[in-house]
Structure formats: structure tokens, C-alpha cells
């Protein structure tokens, strides 16, 4: 990840965000017997058939691809729960519903690799898409009202959403700052905005998956 993008700009490609999300823990139900695995990030297992155990998402996906486990979709990925969240999102204009920080990525990975493990997969998928749309729309409208401050606080924003608005908000805040104190840091703004643009336009090498 470090080699993929310039560390000075905190802007990631979707793949990179997804890569980070793969460290989230998720429950799997193995169908094989295996001793515990010792990783730098911790020990996982032991794996016993039909007994759920939490593992990082990347491991879950790897095992799933080999047909060694079933992934248990997280609790929030149920139709009822998502329907509630969607209603909540639609009802409140300002606030965001609490969803996992990496909900977009997790659901995406599960849709790609564990279709058979998600009950009502199409329903869940469309609900998540709806939720994402509503939230993105909300972010955009709330950013329109954004006025001169040095920081913006939006609770419950997810990784992907932050990632989308980060360059804009960063630059906007810089701009506000610059207008407030015109003599202070003209250079930073130019430098960072220039770099941002470069980072945006530059074709990226896709992550190996």
C-alpha cells in the first residue's frame, strides 16, 4: 500500500481502501480441521468443522475461494437491519447511521466472493447501494453548506466516503485558511493542490488481488 500512492497525500484508490478493509475481522464456518494460524496480526483458529471462528477478511476470502469455509455475513448485513438503517438515513438529514467503517468494502468483498452465504443477496445488495447513494448525497449536500472553519466533523462516515471527499474537503479547508490568513501559507496550498491533481490523474497500477 505504501508503494502505491504518495504518502503525503492521504488519498487512496478504491482498491487500497479495500485492501485496508481486508484486515477487518469476520466470522467464518470452516469445513476443515486446521491448527491455529499464527500471523503478525495475531493468532487465528483453531479451525474445526462447523464451528464459527473470527478471522481477517482476507483470510476468509482466501479460504472461501478454496472452498474451505462459509462466511457468516456480519449482523448488520441482514435485510431487516439494513432496512432500518436505510430508513434512518432517509429520515435524518444531518446525521449518519452507525455502520461499520468499512461497510462498503466488506459488503463488496462478500458480494464478490461469498454470494451463496448471504441470504437475500439481491435485496441486501440493493439496500446497501441505496444506503450508499443516500449517504453520498447527504455528504454532498452537507458540504455545500460548509462554511469557514478549520475542521469538519461528520460522525459515522465510512472509509470509502471519507476517501471520496477527502481531497475536496482538504483543499477547501486550505482555501478557507488561506483566505482567512492570506499572508501565511500560500505555498502549501499550491503544493498540495498540485499534488492532489497529479495523484488524481495519474493512472494507477491496480493492486494485485
Amino acid at each position: 500500500m505504501a508503494g502505491q500512492s504518495d504518502p503525503h497525500i492521504s488519498l487512496f484508490s478504491a482498491e487500497e481502501v479495500e485492501f485496508m478493509a481486508e484486515d477487518e475481522l469476520i466470522e467464518i464456518v470452516p469445513n476443515m480441521r486446521m491448527d491455529p494460524l499464527n500471523f503478525i496480526c495475531g493468532d487465528f483458529g483453531p479451525f474445526l468443522p462447523q464451528i464459527a471462528t473470527p478471522v481477517p477478511l482476507w483470510l476468509a476470502v482466501a479460504l472461501k475461494k478454496r472452498g474451505k469455509c462459509a462466511i457468516r455475513p456480519p449482523l448488520w448485513m441482514s435485510v431487516e437491519k439494513l432496512t432500518q438503517v436505510l430508513e434512518g438515513e432517509r429520515d435524518s438529514q444531518g446525521a449518519f447511521q452507525a455502520l461499520p467503517f468499512h461497510y462498503v468494502e466488506i459488503s463488496r468483498l462478500l458480494f464478490d466472493h461469498a454470494r451463496d452465504d448471504i441470504p437475500d443477496m439481491y435485496m441486501v445488495r440493493s439496500l446497501i447501494e441505496d444506503i450508499r447513494d443516500v449517504r453520498v448525497h447527504k455528504v454532498e449536500t452537507s458540504l455545500e453548506k460548509f462554511s469557514g472553519t478549520s475542521a469538519v466533523k461528520i460522525p459515522n462516515l465510512s472509509a470509502m466516503e471519507v476517501n471520496i471527499i477527502r481531497p475536496f474537503v482538504g483543499r477547501a479547508l486550505q482555501a478557507f485558511y488561506k483566505h482567512d490568513n492570506p499572508e501565511k501559507i500560500p505555498d502549501v496550498d499550491r503544493a498540495s493542490s498540485g499534488q492532489t491533481r497529479v495523484a488524481n490523474n495519474e493512472p494507477r497500477r491496480p493492486l494485485r488481488r
Binding site: 464456518v29 469445513n31 476443515m32 480441521r33 468443522p49 462447523q50 464451528i51 464459527a52 472452498g67 474451505k68 462459509a70 457468516r72 441470504p119
Partner: protein, 994 residues
């Protein structure tokens, strides 16, 4: 006021719109038969186990409009829109014959008192009287101008009354077939709505005939004169559509188009209770025993209204007219009173919590008739209050227990149906779930895999899946033409069996190995005149228990090896390697609803029966799971959620090791799959389900085993539990070591396991001592210290006591340690009088101990902080010492485990045994190396193999608590002529001789 409502559960679906449904009790209230005119199936429900799916009879091609059961409950008749009347055996449900056909739909059926004659009528113009024996039509009664909707034989056998949809009632004389009276327009005209059928009913004594009246009332007509006697008129706001006399004729239940049911006291001509429902009730039946009314509504939902008649009044089944009682089982009435109370609280509490059940009816309005005398009213009021309060408090208390118990029985939690008559539980297979129409169910689910089946029209489809797909064999799915309902599974194969269905379908046992060197090695056994009730599968054998109480044992090749007779009807069976365990009934259950069960363990390969005894259950529960732990301990789980494991402690006992009530998070049921030494594997089912579905694939949950400990003043239940579990495991391992030693097998790995547990036990005890000290329970602390197996831990405890400023306690601990050392030396001295004792003793507190001067001298180099009390042959000690010291550095890091090792002070009797055993000793060492390559001590002899190593042992096994296991060393034993044992893994056992 009294909270009481009847919950209905669905019996028949197909009714999108209202259709006439029927419901019947059999004579002994063991079955409830329902049918709907929108569905061709007839369901026979077991009211005791409503979660069991009903037996479904699908013989009609169209909706079933009428049901009738012969008075002795052996023959069921059904009439249908498909114009046919069919007879079935009851309760089996086998189709017997199409007894007659009409040209239009049937609407009504009735048996006469003796069951010899069946009357059938419908949209055709005539009423057919059919001889049930040969099916001949005795008579056709013509006279009605509209479809006949109701028929009733006079209980005294003289008349038949019939009613049609336009409201005409006709009295027929059976003997002549003449019309006696025709009462035109006395009942409402139901028009063309076939979901409403006019009915009529004779009182059980036959003196009056009840007919719905035109003014939302019931009109009673005289038997002989057909004169109007009186009417029952009350709060029905629409026409009455059904009525039913209580078995004793004192009460009558009426249902009306206004969706209410009213219960009337016929003598007082008043309604005494009522209930409002969501849909119109189209049929009702009083329970022939007890105080309950079965109802079914036009949507096909049925339920049982318990305690219909207030307990202050006569039970509806008391004083049944003599003409009836000869058919009833007189015994039943005896304990009816007690059971009713039970029933009441049960139904009350269930209704309190059954929010999730469908079709809940509104609480009854308890408004009383104004004209009722005031005194009477108050009296009743009181009774009701009393009832309701007791119901409420009881229900609050018992909510969980009852719910759990009953939810096992009734899956949808919809309705408590009775239980009253305690019933011996039926045979079951551990890990099976009841069949559900159109869904897969488990025939067997264990730690290894599952066998599932789904029924199609003519055959079933069986699949065998292993949880571990990587190593388990792949078994192709199979088509099952036998209709297997029992199965068992292990690594080698699977066994199936089916009960007999009718005469053609014999009970069959099938074994199917997963891999065999020969083709076609699956085999079948057919049982003529007997039925397989339970099956079990073991290492190399298959067992089947049959309805004749035979235990049949087959080898896995199909050889019939043994047939034994069992003492009673089987409940269940389980197999594990060589062991077969069988549970049988000892006797009928106690009136308190306790099952009387007995278990036996058989060892198939040895042909022995190591244990038998009563199988304990929680009072009022029944067995739901039975099997072996992964280590081979027998265990059972009952419907109240108590898991028991059989141990040989105290001569063979069951220890309660888990209690769902303690564990339970609200709304969960545990469906046990298996267990190992410390965990219970189960599937968690959300209430009201008590068993898992095949899809989605259930996931096992691990629960910790725990003794149901009383909460102690120490507040350390977790530690105390661990303490007891460790004790249990230790005793289990000891037992196994004994067994293996007897068989001359190698017990090294078990020894290691025992060490680990002992070490863990010491840690646990140590923590308990700490909390005892903190909690000022000093006596308990000294008790605990006595249980420590490692001397080092005792010293640690002394330090702890000193640190906690409890000098008295430290003093006591010291005494204990001293006693212990002394007794040890005494043992050694007496057993080995000529031995020299050389000890390296701990440097710390032990200094205060009275030790022989020679031992002191050995401590002169306390290079080790660990306690390694050691007795070694004086000849060797100097030579070995230097290398010992080097090696001892390692064990320190091994912590407690090696502490165990070090602790076992052993004596060398070099002088006595050195000579003869020298020869063998080197071989011994080599053995040891292969057995425990990981043992650091093994390097010692390894490096110095040229040295003669000798194994010497104390003669007695009573070395002390720390070292209970010895392996007999035959070689030395032979050489010395003394039975000597040693612990191969203990390096201190070896002395070196040159």
C-alpha cells in the same frame, strides 16, 4: 381479571377464504383430527406433542367437508367435495375403503352409537345409512329439500335427526326409516355459503336435541315429541353456526357467526364463559377427558381452549351419562382434578408469553349476565380472581422453565395442549429432528456430519454430509424407497432403519459402509412382525433395538452376532467404538410426569456389560439427547437443559455438567450435538424453535461445561468450577490409565496429560487459596493446601500467606508441608529399609524443616531454585551431579509441569537392584527416548549412554498424591522378583550405576 385466551395454530393452509373445517377428538384424547373443506388432506395431530407434524392422510381429491369417528375410535370416516366417503383405520390412518359415493359433495357424516352404521348426506337429496361392516347401504332417507348439513344419531339408538341448509329439521325413525317429525324453518337459512353448515346435536343423555334458532339462540327440542322445550339465548349477535354438548351434557358450547364462542350451563340456561376469536369458529369438540374444548376456525387454524368450565363448577366430563361411560376409560377420571390445576397454570403462563404466536384470540370479555344472582356472581368473581392471580404469579415464576419445556414440544409456541396424562416418551434417535412437510430434516446430526432426508411422493431423498469436507468421505446422495426415519453415522458407514408401515412395508435395517474393499457391501435386514425402534452404530458393529425389546447386534459385514432381550421398551441407543449404550423404560412414568429410565452400557467386542443403572433426569423432563463425549464418556441431555456425564466415581454416577437455565440467554434453546472434556457443542435455536433446520446449515456453538454450583460466599464460582472439572478430568484419566495399564498398553501420553491437568489444578487451587486468604476463609485455605499436588505450590502458598500477613496460616501450611514430607520419608523408609536418602531440597522456607543431616549436606550447593528433592544412590550421586546441574537449568523454564516432575521424589535402591537390572536398563532408556523425544531430560541418558542406567522404584504405588500413576516395568520386576513400577517420563527415576 383472568387472562386466558386460546391460541390457534395452523392445521390447514389452502383456505384463502373461509371454508368449513372440522375437528374431532378421539375417545382417549390422544389424537385430534382436523380437516378443511379447502384442502384434500386430513391431519391427525398428537395434542401431547403439537410440535410433531401431524400425520396427514391424503386420499381425497378435493376438500374434506365432514369427519366422523366411530365411538370406539377405531375407524375414521371422511366425506369430501369429491363425492366420496372414505374409511380409515384409526389412529394409524391406513386407508381402508371408499365406502360410498354420491353425485354431489358430502356435507355431513355421523356414526351411530355402536359404530355399526354410518349416516352420510350432502348436496344429494338422500341421506344414506351405510352398514360399516360390509359397506352396504341399509337405507336412503329422502325428505329434505335442501342440502343436508347436519346429522345426529340419537344416543339411545332410536332416531336420527337431520338438518338442511334451509333450516328444516327432520326426525327419522331408524327402524322403519319413516319421518317422525318435520320442523320447517326452525333454523336459519344459511343460503349457498358452504362455509356455514347448519348443525344439530343430541344431548348425551338423548333427551333433548339442540338446534340453532332464528333469534341467535339455541332451541332445545324434546326427544319424543319434538316440542320446543327451552332456548338458550344470550350475547350472540348473529346466528349460531355450531354447537357441541359437553360429554356430561351439563354444558354446551356454541359458536356464532359473530366469531364468539359461548359456554352455557344448560341447567341454569346461562352462559358462563365466552371467548372471542379472529375468525369464525366452524367446529368445536369437547375433550373427552379433562376440561378442554378443541376449536377450529374457518381459516383452518385450530387450538385447544383449556379449562373452559371454571374449576368451581363441575367438570364437563364428570358424571357422564351411563350410556357413555362404558366406552370411556374410567381410570382417567381419577387424577383429572390435579392435572387440571397444572393444566390451568400452564396454559395461563403460555398465553402470557406467546406474543409471537399467530392467531391469538382476544381475551374473553368476562362480563356476566345481569340477571344472575349477585351472590353467585361474587362467588364466581372470587374464583376467577384467585385463578388469575395464581396463574399470573406462577407464570412469572415458571415462565422460563415452562416455556422451555413446552417449546420443546410445540415448535410454534402456539398452544399448550395438555400434557396432563404423563406419557412415556417415545423412542428417538439422538441428533434427529422431526420431519416437516416439504422440508429437509435431520435423521442424524453429530460431530462428524449429518444425514438429512426429504420426502417426495413415493420416495425420500437422503444426503450424507461430513462437516469436514476435506477428509471425510464423499458419499453420493441416495434415493430411499423405504422411507427411513432413523439413521446413525460414523467414520466408517451409516445405518438406516424405517418403521413398518402397514402390512406391505416391513421394517428394514440397512447398513451402508463408506468404503469397503468388496463391492456391494451394503446390507439389508427385514423384520417380520417387529419394528426397529432405535439404532446405533459403533466401531465394527451395528445395533438395532426392536419393538419386541430385542437388541440385535450385527457386525459391520452383516453377520447377525447377538440377539439379547431388553427389560423394557427402548428410548434410545448410542454407540462409540466398542461401547453401546441403551436407554429403556423401567415402568410407566410417575404421575408427577417423571420418566422412569434405565441405561446399560455394553462392550460389544468383549461381550461385557460394564455398567447399568437408572438414568437420572430432571423432574418433569424427558430425555432429548444421549451419546458419548469425544473421550468416550456417556452423557445425556434432558428437556430441562441439564447435561449429565457418567463417571465411574462413587461406583458409577451421573454428574450434572451443564445447565441451560444457568447458561441461557433469553430466548435460546440449546440443541446438543456433542461434547468433549471441557466444551459442549450445540446448536443455538432461537425460541420458539427447539431444533435446527437443515437450511441454512446450522453452526455449532461452544459452551463451557460447568457444574451447577451453589453460589458460595467466596464469590469465585469460576475457579471452583474449574477446580471440580479438573478433578473430574484427573479421575477420568486415572481410570483410563488403569485400564490401559491392565491391558499392558503404553500410557505415556496419558501421563503427560495427567501432569498438565495436575499443574493446571495446582494453579487453580493456588488462586483459590489466594481468594480464600483475601476473603478470610482460612480453614478453607488449609483444606485447599492439602490438595496441592506439587510441593512447590505448597511453598508458594506459604509465601503467599506470609506476604498477606497471615502468620498463623503460614504456620499451618508449614505443618502441612512437614507432615507431607515426613509421611513420604516414612513410606520410603518402610518400603525400602536399606536405601539411603539423599535430597536436594529447596532453599527457601524448607530450611526450617527437620531434615536428616545427610540431606542437608546435599543442599550445600543450592544451584537450583526449583525444588528438586531427590533421592539417589550414593554411589552415583557425585558423578551424576555435575551433569544434573547443567540439565536442570532447562526444567526451570518449563514451569509447573516440570515442577510436577521434580516434585516426585524418588528413591533409588542401588544397592539392592543395581546388579540384575543393569543389563536391562539401557534398553529402557532407549524406549524412553522414543516415547518422549521432547523431554529435555532424555538428553541426559542419551549423552551418557555408556553409563549404565538403572531404573529403581519404590515398591509401593502409594507414593503420594503427586504421583499416582506408575507403569509397571516388567523387566525390572522380573529381575528382582518384586512388582516395581516407575514413571518413564520422570528423569529422576533414573540413577546411574557404573
Amino acid at each position: 381479571m383472568k387472562i386466558k385466551s386460546v391460541k390457534l395454530r395452523e392445521a390447514h393452509k389452502g383456505s384463502a377464504n373461509a371454508s368449513f373445517c372440522s375437528i374431532l377428538w378421539d375417545l382417549h384424547a390422544h389424537h385430534l383430527v382436523t380437516a378443511s373443506s379447502s384442502e384434500p388432506s386430513i391431519s391427525i395431530h398428537d395434542p401431547l406433542l403439537p410440535s410433531n407434524p401431524p400425520r396427514v392422510l391424503r386420499h381425497h381429491r378435493d376438500g374434506v367437508t365432514a369427519l366422523a369417528l366411530s365411538p370406539n375410535s377405531t375407524c375414521l370416516a371422511s366425506g369430501s367435495i369429491d363425492h366420496s366417503v372414505k374409511l380409515y383405520k384409526f389412529p394409524g390412518g391406513e386407508f381402508e375403503t371408499n365406502i360410498t359415493r354420491f353425485t354431489l359433495p358430502i356435507r355431513a357424516l355421523a356414526f351411530n352409537k355402536s359404530g355399526s352404521m354410518l349416516a352420510a348426506a350432502g348436496d344429494d337429496e338422500g341421506i344414506k345409512l351405510i352398514n360399516t361392516i360390509d359397506g352396504s347401504i341399509a337405507r336412503v332417507l329422502k325428505g329434505h329439500r335442501g342440502p343436508v348439513t347436519g346429522l345426529a344419531f340419537d344416543p339411545n339408538g332410536e332416531y336420527l335427526a337431520s338438518i338442511d341448509s334451509i333450516g328444516t329439521v327432520i326426525y327419522w325413525e331408524l327402524q322403519s326409516g319413516r319421518t317422525l317429525y318435520t320442523l320447517k324453518g326452525v333454523a336459519p337459512d344459511t343460503g349457498s355459503d358452504t362455509s356455514i353448515l347448519n348443525v344439530l346435536s343430541w344431548s348425551p343423555d338423548g333427551e333433548t336435541l339442540a338446534v340453532p334458532g332464528l333469534k341467535n339462540d339455541i332451541v332445545m327440542y324434546d326427544r319424543d315429541t319434538a316440542e320446543k322445550l327451552f332456548t338458550l339465548r344470550g350475547d350472540h349477535t348473529q346466528h349460531i353456526c355450531f354447537m357441541s354438548w359437553s360429554p356430561n351434557g351439563k354444558y354446551i358450547a356454541t359458536s356464532s357467526l359473530d366469531k364468539q364462542i359461548l359456554i352455557w350451563d344448560v341447567n341454569r340456561k346461562q352462559d358462563i364463559d365466552r371467548q372471542k376469536f379472529d375468525d369464525r369458529i366452524c367446529c368445536m369438540a369437547w375433550k373427552p377427558v379433562g376440561n378442554a374444548l378443541a376449536v377450529i376456525d374457518v381459516m383452518g387454524k385450530y387450538g385447544v381452549w383449556e379449562s373452559v368450565v371454571p374449576s368451581s363448577m363441575k367438570s364437563p366430563t364428570e358424571d357422564i351419562p351411563s350410556s357413555r361411560s362404558k366406552n370411556s376409560n374410567g381410570l382417567l377420571f381419577f387424577d383429572e382434578e390435579d392435572e387440571e390445576d397444572q393444566e390451568l397454570s400452564m396454559s395461563g403462563s403460555l398465553s402470557d408469553l406467546g406474543e409471537d404466536s399467530h392467531g391469538e384470540s382476544e381475551p374473553p370479555s368476562r362480563k356476566r349476565l345481569r340477571k344472575q344472582p349477585v351472590i353467585d356472581d361474587d362467588q364466581h368473581e372470587d374464583v376467577y380472581n384467585e385463578l388469575s392471580s395464581c396463574t399470573k404469579t406462577e407464570s412469572r415464576k415458571k415462565v422460563h422453565r415452562i416455556n422451555k419445556e413446552s417449546s420443546d414440544k410445540e415448535r410454534d409456541g402456539s398452544r399448550s395442549m395438555m400434557t396432563y396424562r404423563p406419557k412415556m416418551q417415545e423412542a428417538f434417535q439422538p441428533g434427529s429432528t422431526p420431519p416437516l412437510p416439504g422440508k429437509r430434516n435431520f435423521l442424524c446430526y453429530n460431530m462428524l456430519g449429518s444425514i438429512t432426508t426429504i420426502k417426495h411422493d413415493e420416495y425420500s431423498h437422503i444426503e450424507i454430509d461430513f462437516h469436514d469436507t476435506s477428509t471425510g468421505p464423499r458419499v453420493p446422495p441416495m434415493t430411499d424407497h423405504y422411507g427411513f426415519t432413523m439413521a446413525s453415522l460414523n467414520e466408517n458407514g451409516s445405518v438406516f432403519a424405517n418403521p413398518c408401515k402397514g402390512e406391505k412395508n416391513m421394517s428394514t435395517l440397512m447398513y451402508r459402509p463408506f468404503s469397503s474393499w468388496a463391492n456391494n457391501s451394503e446390507w439389508y435386514m427385514r423384520f417380520e412382525g417387529e419394528e426397529v425402534k432405535a439404532i446405533a452404530l459403533g466401531g465394527t458393529w451395528v445395533a438395532a433395538v426392536t419393538s419386541l425389546n430385542f437388541l440385535r447386534i450385527y457386525m459391520d459385514g452383516g453377520l447377525q452376532k447377538h440377539i439379547l432381550s431388553l427389560n423394557g421398551p427402548v428410548v434410545t441407543a448410542a454407540g462409540f467404538k466398542d461401547e453401546l449404550a441403551i436407554v429403556t423404560h423401567v415402568s410407566d412414568c410417575l404421575p408427577s410426569n417423571e420418566q422412569m429410565l434405565e441405561f446399560r452400557i455394553f462392550n460389544i467386542s468383549k461381550g461385557t456389560q460394564p455398567f447399568k443403572g437408572r438414568l437420572p433426569l430432571t423432574p418433569g423432563s424427558y430425555l432429548t439427547w444421549f451419546g458419548f463425549t469425544e473421550e468416550g464418556q456417556l452423557s445425556s441431555y434432558d428437556s430441562k437443559g441439564v447435561l449429565r456425564v457418567f463417571t465411574s466415581q462413587y461406583g458409577g454416577n451421573w454428574l450434572p455438567l451443564f445447565s441451560a437455565i444457568k447458561e441461557r440467554k433469553s430466548g435460546e434453546n440449546y440443541w446438543v450435538v456433542g461434547l468433549n472434556a471441557s466444551k459442549l457443542f450445540c446448536i443455538v435455536c432461537k425460541n420458539p424453535d427447539s431444533f435446527p433446520q437443515v437450511h441454512p446449515k446450522p453452526v455449532l456453538t461452544l459452551l463451557n461445561l460447568s457444574f451447577p454450583l451453589a453460589s458460595s460466599d467466596l464469590g469465585e464460582e469460576a475457579l471452583e468450577n474449574e477446580f471440580m472439572l479438573n478433578n473430574l478430568h484427573l479421575s477420568q484419566i486415572q481410570k483410563r490409565i488403569e485400564v490401559m495399564t491392565d491391558e499392558g498398553l503404553d500410557t505415556t501420553s496419558l501421563d503427560d496429560e495427567a501432569f498438565d491437568i495436575e499443574a493446571a489444578q495446582d494453579r487453580c487451587i493456588f488462586r483459590l487459596i489466594a481468594s480464600c486468604c483475601n476473603g478470610d476463609k482460612l480453614v478453607r485455605a488449609t483444606e485447599l493446601v492439602k490438595l496441592l499436588s506439587v510441593e512447590k505450590s505448597v511453598r508458594g502458598a506459604i509465601q503467599l500467606a506470609t506476604a498477606l500477613k497471615l502468620p498463623i496460616l503460614a504456620e499451618r501450611f508449614n505443618n502441612i508441608l512437614e507432615e507431607r514430607l515426613q509421611s513420604k520419608t516414612e513410606v520410603l523408609k518402610t518400603s525400602l529399609p536399606r536405601s539411603n536418602h539423599d535430597r536436594n531440597v529447596k532453599t527457601d522456607v524448607a530450611a526450617s524443616m527437620a531434615l536428616p543431616a545427610t540431606e542437608r549436606s546435599e543442599i550445600s550447593e543450592p544451584t537450583l531454585s526449583t525444588s528438586s528433592a531427590k533421592l539417589s544412590a550414593p554411589l552415583l550421586i557425585k558423578k551424576v551431579k555435575s551433569s544434573d546441574r547443567v540439565k536442570f537449568g532447562k526444567p526451570k523454564t518449563d514451569g509447573d509441569q516440570t515442577a510436577c516432575l521434580e516434585d516426585s521424589r524418588e528413591v533409588k535402591d542401588a544397592g539392592k537392584n543395581a546388579g540384575p537390572s543393569q543389563v536391562n536398563s539401557v534398553k529402557e532408556v532407549k524406549n524412553l527416548q522414543t516415547q518422549r523425544p521432547s523431554n529435555p531430560f532424555l538428553k541426559l541418558p542419551n549423552n551418557q549412554e555408556e553409563k549404565k542406567v538403572e531404573e529403581v522404584m519404590p515398591e509401593s504405588q502409594s507414593q503420594g498424591p503427586s504421583n499416582p500413576f506408575f507403569k509397571s516395568s516388567n523387566k525390572v520386576g522380573e529381575a528382582t522378583g518384586v512388582q516395581q513400577s516407575h514413571r518413564p517420563s520422570n528423569p529422576f527415576l533414573k540413577s546411574r550405576a557404573q
